[in-house]
C-alpha cells in the first residue's frame, strides 16, 4: 500500500514536470538545465555598446513572454538601452516589465500554477519556479525608469515612477517589519538544518559579514535621492526634503545629500540655494554591473548508502568598489560619492530568501531519492538486478545533472551608484570625466553642458568595463 502511494507520488511529480516543461514554450535564457548567469555572460560584453544585436538575440524571445522570465528579460533590455541613452526604448521595456510584475503580484495567494511549478521543481531545481524578482530589483527598475522620464523631459512621468518606487519600499517595510525578525530566527534554524559543508559555511559567513550593518535589501539611498531630485524639479521642495532626509538616514556620510537637506531645510546658512544667475549640475555615476550569483554544489551521502546532490546560490566576489568618478568643470574638480552598493543589497536579498531555498533543497533531496528508489524497484521487478543497476546509475546521473542553483537576477543593474552636485554660474561648459577601472586603466570622456539659471543639468554617466558613456540632460 505504501509502495503504491509512493508510485503515485512519483508518477504525479513526473506528470507535473512534463506539464511544466511541455505546457509552455521554454525560456531562451534559463531553465532546469540552463544557467541564467551563462546567458547573461554572453550579453555582458555588449552592455554599453550601441550595437544591440547580441543582446536582442539573447533576450528578445523571452521579452515577449508574460511571465517572470519576460519581466527579467525586459529589465535586462531596459538596462542595456539606458546604458547607451536609448531612453524611450528603455522606458518601454521597464513599463512592460512593470505590467508583468503587477500581474504576478495579483495572482492568488495559493496559485495553482505556482504550486504546480514548485511541485515540478522537486524533481528538477528552483530554476523552474516562476521568477518573481526581489524587491530591490523592482525598486531599482522604477528608479532607473524615473531617470528615463527625466531624460525624455517628462517630469510628471518621473514623479509617477519615484512614487511607485517609494510605494514598493514602504510596502516591503511594512511587510517585513515582523517577517525580518522571524526570518532572522528561522535563519539560525536553517543553519542547523542545512547540510553542512565547509565550503557553503565559509561562503555564508562571508555573505553575513559583507551585509553586516545593512538593515534590509529593499531600501536604498539612490532611490530616495532621485526621488528628492524629481520633487525639487517639479517645484515641490517639501516632498523633496522628506526624501533627501530618508536618503541621508541610509547614507549619513554622503556630502551631496547632507547639503541638499541643509539647503532645503535652511538649517545651515552657509549652504545656500543657487543665486539668480546660477544653476546646478547633478552628476549621477552608475558604475559597473552587479556581480553574478555562483553555484555551490556538493554531494549529500544518505544513511542507506546512496548519494544525492544539493546546490545553493551564493555570492563569492566581495571586492569593494573603490572607483570614483573625477569631474573637472571650469577649473574645479569634484569626485562622486557612493550612494548605493547594489552588490550588498543583492547579497542581503539572497540571505532573506535563504530559509525557503534550504527547505526546498531538503525536500528535493527526499523527492529525487524516492523517485530513484521507486524506479529502481520497478526496474528490478521487470528486468532483474541488471536493470536495477542501470536504473540506479541513470538515477544518480539525473540527480547530479538536475541539481542546479537558481542564479536568476537582474544583472544589468549597476554595481554602485554615486553622485555629485555642483552649483555653477550660467553658461556653457566643457566637462572632463575621468575614471580608473578595475584593470587600472584610466578612461576619460569630455562632455559639453549648459547651465541655465535656476535649472538643474543632469549628467548621467555609465561606466562599464572599458567604456564610459555620458549624457547631459536638461539645462
Amino acid at each position: 500500500m505504501v509502495s503504491a502511494g509512493k508510485r503515485l507520488l512519483v508518477l504525479g511529480l513526473v506528470s507535473v514536470v512534463v506539464f511544466v516543461a511541455g505546457g509552455c514554450a521554454t525560456s531562451s535564457t534559463s531553465g532546469a538545465f540552463k544557467s541564467y548567469a551563462d546567458s547573461f555572460n554572453k550579453a555582458r560584453p555588449s552592455m554599453g555598446s550601441n550595437d544591440m544585436t547580441v543582446i536582442d538575440s539573447i533576450y528578445a524571445k523571452d521579452a515577449a513572454r508574460r511571465d517572470g522570465q519576460g519581466m527579467l528579460a525586459n529589465w535586462e533590455l531596459a538596462a542595456a538601452d539606458e546604458a547607451v541613452g536609448r531612453w524611450a526604448e528603455s522606458r518601454d521595456h521597464f513599463l512592460l516589465a512593470d505590467a508583468i510584475a503587477r500581474d504576478l503580484e495579483s495572482k492568488a495567494v495559493v496559485s495553482g500554477s505556482d504550486v504546480a511549478k514548485t511541485a515540478g521543481s522537486l524533481l528538477t531545481n528552483d530554476n523552474t519556479i516562476e521568477f518573481k524578482g526581489d524587491a530591490y530589483e523592482k525598486v531599482m527598475a522604477h528608479t532607473l525608469n524615473a531617470l528615463n522620464y527625466i531624460a525624455l523631459g517628462d517630469l510628471t512621468g518621473a514623479r509617477v515612477e519615484v512614487r511607485k518606487a517609494d510605494e514598493y519600499q514602504q510596502l516591503e517595510l511594512e511587510k517585513h517589519a515582523k517577517a525580518l525578525q522571524a526570518a532572522e530566527q528561522k535563519d539560525s534554524q536553517a543553519d542547523q538544518q542545512r547540510p553542512a559543508t565547509s565550503e557553503l559555511t565559509e561562503e555564508l559567513g562571508k555573505m553575513d559579514s559583507f551585509t553586516a550593518g545593512v538593515k534590509n535589501s529593499f531600501q536604498n539611498s539612490f532611490t530616495y535621492f532621485l526621488s528628492g531630485l524629481v520633487y525639487e524639479m517639479n517645484g515641490e521642495a517639501d516632498d523633496a526634503l522628506i526624501d533627501y532626509r530618508k536618503a541621508l538616514e541610509l547614507t549619513p556620510e554622503c556630502d551631496p545629500i547632507r547639503e541638499s537637506v541643509q539647503r532645503l531645510s535652511g538649517a545651515e546658512p552657509n549652504v545656500a540655494a543657487p543665486a539668480a544667475d546660477q544653476g546646478e549640475v547633478v552628476i549621477i555615476y552608475e558604475e559597473g554591473l552587479v556581480p553574478e550569483k555562483q553555484e555551490v554544489k556538493f554531494p549529500v551521502p544518505l544513511p542507506w548508502g546512496s548519494i544525492s546532490y544539493t546546490a545553493f546560490p551564493v555570492y563569492t566576489d566581495f571586492t569593494p568598489t573603490a572607483e570614483r568618478l573625477e569631474v573637472s568643470i571650469a577649473g574645479r574638480s569634484v569626485e562622486t560619492e557612493p550612494l548605493i552598493d547594489m552588490h550588498v543589497l543583492a547579497v542581503k536579498a539572497l540571505k532573506e530568501k535563504w530559509v525557503g531555498i534550504t527547505a526546498r533543497e531538503i525536500a528535493r533531496v527526499v523527492a529525487k531519492e524516492t523517485a530513484q528508489r521507486e524506479t529502481a524497484k520497478q526496474a528490478q521487478k521487470q528486468g532483474g538486478v541488471g536493470a536495477e543497476l542501470v536504473a540506479n546509475l541513470f538515477g544518480l546521473i539525473y540527480k547530479a545533472a538536475s541539481t542546479r542553483a537558481d542564479l536568476r537576477a537582474f544583472y544589468g543593474l549597476p554595481d554602485e551608484v554615486q553622485v555629485a552636485r555642483v552649483v555653477m554660474p550660467v553658461g556653457q561648459y566643457d566637462v572632463r570625466l575621468r575614471r580608473v577601472n578595475a584593470q587600472a586603466q584610466a578612461l576619460e570622456k569630455d562632455v559639453q553642458l549648459t547651465v541655465v539659471a535656476g535649472n538643474k543639468t543632469i549628467v548621467v554617466v555609465r561606466g562599464l568595463q572599458t567604456t564610459i558613456n555620458s549624457f547631459s540632460i536638461g539645462g
Partner: protein
C-alpha cells in the same frame, strides 16, 4: 483514490499551461469596469459627470459664453494616467451645454500659429479669406487641477483613494471662482486560491 490523485495532477498540469490567444469581444464602454484597482475609464466617467454638473450649476458663466483655457491636470499619483483624457471629456461635455467656449490655444498653440502663418504668408490662401493676425480671443477663465492618490495595502487587500481637484480661476482678477473635488476609493483583494 488513485483516480482522485491523478485527476488532481492533470488539473494542476492544465493550470500551469500557457494561455492561448485572448478571446476578443465588443463591450459597452459605459459599463462599469473593475478589471483592476488601477485608474480606469469608469473613474474618468465618474469624475467628468461630477465636475461638469457642478460647473454647470454655478451662475458664473452668465449668457456671454466666456472662453476657457484648459491646463492638463497634474498627475500626482503613482500611475501613468492620461489626464488629458479627463480634461478632454470635461471640455466636450461643457461645450455641448452651450454655456462656455474653449480656446484651442491651450491645446494646439503651435499648430494654430502655423496655420495663421500659412494663411497669411504662404501666398497660397486668398487674402480676403485669410485669418486675421492678433484676433484670437483671450481666455476669461483657466481650468486646472490635479489628480492625487493614496495607496494602502494590508495583507491581501489594497485600497487606493483617488482625489481629483479642479479649479476655475478668473484670469484677470486671479480669483478662484469655482472649485470642486471628487474622491474615488477602489479596493482589490487577492484571491486565496486561483490560477
Amino acid at each position: 483514490m488513485k483516480s482522485f490523485v491523478m485527476t488532481g495532477v492533470v488539473l494542476l498540469g492544465f493550470l500551469t499551461g500557457c494561455a492561448s490567444g485572448p478571446a476578443v469581444s465588443y463591450q459597452d464602454p459605459n459599463a462599469v469596469e473593475t478589471l483592476t484597482a488601477d485608474f480606469g475609464t469608469t473613474d474618468v466617467q465618474m469624475i467628468t459627470d461630477k465636475m461638469v454638473s457642478s460647473l454647470l450649476e454655478t451662475p458664473i458663466f452668465g449668457s456671454d459664453r466666456p472662453v476657457i483655457w484648459v491646463s492638463p491636470l497634474r498627475n500626482k499619483t503613482s500611475e501613468h494616467i492620461d489626464t488629458k483624457m479627463i480634461t478632454d471629456r470635461i471640455r466636450t461635455a461643457l461645450l455641448k451645454s452651450g454655456k462656455v467656449r474653449f480656446t484651442a490655444a491651450s491645446d494646439i498653440p503651435k499648430e494654430l500659429q502655423k496655420q495663421i502663418s500659412y494663411q497669411n504668408e504662404s501666398g497660397i490662401v486668398d487674402p480676403s479669406t485669410a485669418a486675421g493676425q492678433a484676433r484670437q480671443i483671450g481666455a476669461k477663465f483657466m481650468l486646472y487641477g490635479e489628480v492625487g492618490s493614496i495607496v494602502k495595502q494590508a495583507g491581501r487587500t489594497k485600497l487606493v483613494d483617488y482625489q481629483v481637484t479642479l479649479n476655475l480661476t478668473n484670469v484677470e482678477t486671479g480669483i478662484i471662482e469655482w472649485a470642486d473635488e471628487k474622491t474615488i476609493r477602489k479596493g482589490s483583494t487577492r484571491q486565496v486560491f486561483g490560477r
